[in-house]
């Protein structure tokens, strides 16, 4: 019996410890996640002063949800950040944040999540190569979102056609969501 009692106490204390740490970290965790999102939005639609993550719309496209965040400065709408995805990556899913200006041109793109090969596919990440730069200011309606090999307008990352294709795929999906949302 004493065994059960001690065990009871141990689990009790452990649970209390965990519970309280959970309580304590709940907010920081939420904030950290938010921050990550906001930072991405900040990159792709800079200059807002609202809390875009609270202005969310959710669309179902290709069997998964795509979130659209509206960024404002004061009352002025700066643009929309679209959190999009693709499953065509070299190593599975890639998540991007694509910022669209009001006219539908791409402001900028940030990579939210990926598992592409370092030194190859991960060159799509802004800052690691100029790959993402080519999308800035382009309107997907007249900038064909496909790599040149596939007769599109995008210069693929060297030796990473697969990633480049996936990237285009995600951006295309974002554009579709954006168009649909309009």
């Amino acid at each position: 019996m004493s065994m059960l009692a001690t065990l009871f106490v141990v689990t009790l204390v452990a649970a209390a410890l965990m519970g309280s740490v959970y309580a304590l970290t709940k907010e920081p965790i939420r904030l950290a996640e938010l921050k990550k999102k906001n930072e991405a939005i900040q990159v792709v639609v800079p200059g807002f002063d609202n809390e875009p993550s609270t202005e969310v719309r959710r669309l179902f496209i290709d069997g998964d949800s795509i979130f659209l965040y509206t960024a404002r400065k004061g009352d002025e709408v700066l643009g929309t950040a679209v959190e999009t995805f693709t499953n065509e990556g070299f190593s599975g899913e890639i998540k991007l944040m694509v910022g669209f200006a009001l006219d539908g041109t791409i402001i900028d793109i940030a990579v939210v999540k990926h598992a592409e090969t370092p030194g190859l596919g991960d060159k799509m990440v802004k800052g690691k190569s100029d790959f993402s730069v080519q999308f800035m200011g382009k309107d997907p309606n007249n900038f064909k979102l496909a790599v040149k090999k596939d007769r599109g307008d995008v210069d693929a990352i060297t030796a990473s056609t697969i990633t480049s294709r996936a990237y285009c795929d995600a951006v295309k999906r974002a554009h579709r969501a954006w168009t649909e949302a309009q």
Partner: protein, 190 residues
């Protein structure tokens, strides 16, 4: 079809040992006899599947509704640790000779790392119940494939002249590395 894909992915493309790095300790230390490795595969399959099944059920029916997802780690490890032992006790109670035969034949199923990893991965990947169990099967087979192949290689190396300083664990890692290298060929198959 999707189940087949899950299995192929788990066995070949992201093999639990060679690609996910789970269950390395038994892989490196235990696998020196092919027969044992085959037996291990059978045992590990059962343990992994039943663990994944139970953890899945607890996760979906207790942790998620109560918003206790953060307790995943502790629940899973407790459940798995007791489950594995439970099976042993049952076997021992049922038939001591059977249990004894297993004792001679198999090393311990010290694959906690892999079992826990698979259970966690299964919920992380948002699989449904059947998918989770199939995923567990795939990983168990993947573990088995790596283990059996490797034990074969070990048996062969045993008879050859491997330099002294390479013998044992170092050569095991190097072989594992080369196997992983070869298995990279499966990238993208599913």
């Amino acid at each position: 079809m999707e189940y087949v894909i899950i299995i192929i992915a788990a066995v070949f493309v992201s093999n639990i040992v060679l690609n996910q790095f789970l269950g390395i300790c038994p892989f490196i230390v235990v696998s020196s006899k092919v027969e044992t490795a085959i037996g291990m595969t059978g045992a590990v399959t059962f343990v992994m599947v039943i663990s994944t099944l139970v953890t899945y059920l607890i996760y979906q029916s207790v942790l998620v509704p109560l918003e206790l997802v953060y307790m995943r780690t502790i629940t899973f490890i407790l459940v798995i640790a007791s489950l594995v032992q439970l099976v042993e006790i049952i076997l021992k109670k049922i038939s001591p000779p059977l249990y004894q035969a297993l004792g001679i034949f198999l090393p311990l199923i010290t694959t906690n790392c892999a079992v826990l990893g698979v259970a966690v991965l299964a919920v992380q990947k948002d699989f449904n119940l059947l998918e989770s169990t199939v995923f567990a099967i795939g990983n168990a087979l993947g573990f088995g494939l790596a283990l059996i192949t490797f034990s074969g290689i070990r048996e062969q190396l045993d008879l050859l002249k491997v330099p002294a300083r390479m013998k044992g664990v170092p050569i095991a890692f190097i072989v594992a590395g080369l196997m992983a290298l070869a298995f990279m060929g499966f990238a993208g198959i599913v």
